[in-house]
Each structure stands twice: as structure tokens, then as C-alpha cells.
Amino acid sequence: MKILVQLMTVLSVAACLAAAILRFLDVASPAGYTTMLGVASVVYFIAATTWAEMRG
């Protein structure tokens, strides 16, 4: 469980950066980019706060 949460935290940050790169390469539309960024951000906060709780 702990590893899964850590992985989700790291992957969600990576997804934020990936969304920007996809926008830069014009693969993602402006709306697609901001949606991907928003979803990745929500996932990040869920995972990171869970991880912080686990660490106490």
C-alpha cells in the first residue's frame, strides 16, 4: 500500500510535466492540457496527503 501511494505521488507529478510537454508539442489541446493537469493535481494531493499521514 505504502509503495503504491508513493508511486502515485511521483507519477502524478510526472503526469503534470508530461501534460505540459504534450501541450508544447501541440499533441494536447489547451483544454486537454489543463484537464490533464487538473486531474493529475487531484491525484497528487490525494496520494501525497495519504503518504504524509502514513509517515505521521
Partner: protein
């Protein structure tokens, strides 16, 4: 009467800081990784959205920016390593307790209150920056660059509501929220990077990055200041990067942090905060403001670069900086508010901060404010440095205030005030005044202590 009041204030203050009165023991020292984490987390704040953007508005060119940030941040790291950390690892106490031995409890109280006032203004600026993000949704215009007073009722209401929100959250659970703030830092940093990358095409950068340098030098850091803005060059950037945390390294506030370091070389871990936060994030905000047509509106800039996530980043970055600031300001206020509960003190600190946030001048003149903040507290760092290293080498007795039981070390008070007066009249740019001021304070304190020592025989 006044003497007994001061004694009372000092005694209350000592009680407040009692928990960290003891020297840190060998078993409580922290690892280097912890220092790297603390620095990395602390130096990506709302101010970063404004500082990097202001460099663009001040017409910095790219080469000056890169060299200035690289060397300015290096000097900041070296200041932590060679000035702050060596003293911290020798004395293992906070600046509060060390300054008390040197300057006397009275002057330490004055220092603490000065620090609290500075923190309140900084928190006010953070609230203003957050207001630019929330204001987008309500169509409230951001005050122009030369504004001192609020330009609309909407702005005042916004600053008031955000300030009230931040204060309420701080009252409801400061410690829990502080932990949450630590969670936010990596994400805010990711939004900085993502926002800058995403707006590059709107500035004309090709997909193969072939014209990146050309775009950066002609459309972002093109050396042309915005109307009404002073032109900045290499030295402005270098000095700004160096003194952005002057109170922490040269001013020695970070004795509180480095007293837990195993070795003085742990000062080098500050690079984990400086280069991502004070170099990369500043560069990113510069890119974002250029894409936003050089309009100083952090909220709009972040929204255009990262959508709602950008708005969230500005809001959270403002809040994560304002939250601990409210705590620190409240701690200092506690000495003059006997027996007040924590919530009431936080409420007062929050009210002061919220009123300050209504005045946009504090965020629109943030660069100057950061310079003044460091400058005001810098002489205390010089006094402590002289007392710690120079006085024993010259055979001058150390810690006179402690040994003689003085409430005020008047030599220290004269040096502090005198240095600030001299700095005020220096015919050089505000950003450069602290450096000669530091040496003036250092020499003046040693000379005054030497004279006093000889008089005492």
C-alpha cells in the same frame, strides 16, 4: 515602572522560547537529506511568481539573468555554509538565545518584534498575490504597478476575505495545516515548470527548441524594461539572489535550523532550495509573465499557463507562506499580550496582516521590500558574527550582556540603529547597501566593544 514592565515582557518571552532553550544534543542531530528537504520545500513560495516576473519587467537580459542567478545563489549558499552554519554547529542554540547573551534580553525583544512586523508585511504581500488569483473569477482588476493604495472596493473585499480565510484556517489547526503545506511544495514547483513549458509555443518557440535562445533573448529577457520600471543589470540580479534570504543566512535566523546539523558543511544543502526555487522557479515565472504580455498579475499569468491548477498554485503558494508567518508573528505578539490564548493572538496577527494585504504596494514593490527586510535585520547578524569570531581573537571579553546582567547592550543597539541610518544615506542602489552596511556594523561593533573593554580595564 518601565523597568518592571520590561522585565515582565522579557520573562514572558523567555517562557515562550523555553522549549528550545537547551542546546541540541548529539542524538537529536538531523541527516543531510532532511536539510535538503527543508530547503527544497521552503523556497518555492508565492513570492517566486512575482520575483521572476519582475525581473522581466525590469528589462534584465538573459545572460545577466543566468549569470546573476547562478552566482548570486552560489553566494547565498556560501553565506549559509561559511557564516551561519559554523556558528550554529558551535553554539547549538537559536538566534533568540544566542542574541540574548550578546545583546541583552531587552534588545532581543526589540529584534523579535521588528522581525514580526516584517513577517506581517510579507504575509500581507502573499495574501495580495493570492487575491490576484481569486480576483480573476470575479473580474476584480489588479492594481497598476505604481499603486500604493487599493484601487477598488472589490480588491479590499477580496484581500479581506482571503486574509480572513487564511487566519481562520490558522486558528483552526496551525500544525496540521503546516504539514499539509509541506505536501504542497513539490506540486507547486511542478506547476511552475509545467506552466513555463506549456506557454513556450505562444512565445514562438519551435517544437525542436531550435530558436529557444533567440525567443528568450528577444521576447522574454530582452533588456527592455516595462514603462515606469527601473532597468536592472547583472549586479542587481546577483545581489538580489544573494540577499533574498539575507535575514536567514547573514542575519543568522537560520541558527534555529542549523543547530541540528552534524557539520557546518550542511550549509551546502541550501543549494537544494536556491537553485530549484530561486533560479528555476524565477526563470519559469519570467517565461509565464512574458506569455501574459508582461502584465503583473500572478493569478492571470498562472491561469493562462496552467488553467485552474495555476490558480490553485498561486493560492496555495500564498497560503503556505502566510500560514507559518502568521504563527511567527503571533509568537512575537504573545510577549505583549499576557495570558491570551493562541487563537486570539493568531486573530490579531491575521487582522494586521489582512489590513496590510489591502495595500497592493507591498506585493508590487516586493523586490524593494525584500531588500529592506534583509537590510533591517542584517546588523544583528554582523554583531553576532563579531562577538562570536572577532572579539575572542582580539582578546575582548565576550558575552558582556550576559555576564553583567545588562537588559540592553547599548553598543549593539547603537551599531544596529547607526548602521541603518548610514545605509539610508548611502548614495548607491538599495540592493547594494547591505554589503557595505554589514562591514560597517562589524567594524563599528568591534571598535565600540574594544573601547568599552579598555574603559573597564
Amino acid at each position: 515602572m518601565m523597568s518592571s514592565t520590561l522585565t515582565d515582557v522579557v520573562s514572558r518571552m523567555d517562557k515562550l522560547y523555553e522549549f528550545d532553550r537547551e542546546e541540541v544534543r548529539a542524538g537529536n542531530l538531523h541527516s543531510g537529506a532532511k536539510f535538503a528537504g527543508v530547503f527544497a520545500g521552503e523556497h518555492v513560495a508565492a513570492t517566486e511568481f512575482v520575483i521572476g516576473a519582475f525581473f522581466v519587467l525590469h528589462g534584465v537580459n538573459l545572460v545577466d539573468l543566468l549569470i546573476g542567478l547562478a552566482f548570486g545563489n552560489l553566494l547565498a549558499v556560501l553565506s549559509w555554509t561559511f557564516v551561519c552554519a559554523p556558528i550554529a554547529t558551535r553554539v547549538r542554540v537559536t538566534l533568540y538565545w544566542y542574541l540574548r547573551r550578546i545583546a541583552g534580553p531587552g534588545l532581543t525583544v526589540v529584534y523579535n518584534i521588528a522581525n514580526a512586523v516584517m513577517y506581517c508585511i510579507l504575509a500581507g504581500a502573499m495574501i495580495s498575490i493570492s487575491a490576484t488569483a481569486v480576483g480573476l473569477g470575479f473580474g476584480i482588476p489588479v492594481p497598476p504597478l505604481d499603486a500604493v493604495f487599493p484601487n477598488s472596493i472589490g480588491w479590499i473585499l477580496l484581500a479581506f476575505l482571503i486574509g480572513a480565510g487564511f487566519t481562520t484556517l490558522a486558528i483552526l489547526g496551525f500544525e496540521r495545516l503546516s504539514r499539509f503545506a509541506a505536501v504542497c511544495s513539490p506540486w507547486i514547483f511542478a506547476i511552475f515548470i509545467a506552466g513555463a513549458i506549456a506557454v513556450l509555443p505562444s512565445l514562438g518557440v519551435d517544437k525542436d527548441l531550435g530558436n529557444l535562445w533567440e525567443v528568450a533573448t528577444t521576447r522574454i529577457w530582452n533588456g527592455q524594461p516595462s514603462p515606469g520600471q527601473e532597468k536592472f543589470g547583472l549586479w542587481h540580479i546577483l545581489f538580489f539572489a544573494w540577499f533574498a534570504n539575507l535575514a536567514m543566512h547573514i542575519g543568522l535566523s537560520d541558527l534555529a535550523l542549523f543547530r541540528y546539523a552534524k557539520r557546518w558543511t550542511y550549509g551546502l544543502y541550501s543549494a537544494f532550495g536556491m537553485y530549484p526555487g530561486h533560479m528555476l522557479a524565477w526563470i519559469c515565472s519570467g517565461v509565464m509573465v512574458a506569455a501574459a504580455n508582461r502584465v503583473m498579475n500572478p493569478g492571470l499569468m498562472a491561469y493562462q499557463a496552467a488553467g485552474l491548477a495555476g490558480i490553485g498554485a498561486v493560492l496555495l503558494a500564498g497560503w503556505t507562506t502566510a500560514n507559518p508567518t502568521l504563527y511567527r508573528a503571533g509568537l512575537a505578539l504573545q510577549i505583549v499580550t499576557p495570558n491570551w490564548p493562541r487563537w486570539k493572538i493568531t486573530l490579531v496577527a491575521g487582522a494586521i496582516t489582512t489590513i496590510l494585504a489591502c495595500f497592493p504596494v507591498f506585493f508590487l514593490k516586493l523586490l524593494d521590500y525584500v531588500a529592506i527586510y534583509g537590510l533591517v535585520l542584517m546588523p544583528i547578524g554582523a554583531i553576532v558574527f563579531a562577538e562570536h569570531w572577532i572579539l575572542p581573537k582580539l582578546g575582548i571579553q565576550q558575552y558582556q550582556a550576559e555576564k553583567k546582567g545588562w537588559v540592553f547592550n547599548w553598543n549593539a543597539a547603537i551599531v544596529w540603529v547607526g548602521t541603518l541610518v548610514v545605509c539610508y544615506y548611502m548614495p548607491i542602489h538599495l540592493f547594494f547597501r547591505w554589503l557595505p552596511g554589514y562591514f560597517i556594523a562589524l567594524i563599528a561593533y568591534v571598535v565600540l566593544q574594544r573601547i568599552a573593554d579598555r574603559k573597564r580595564g
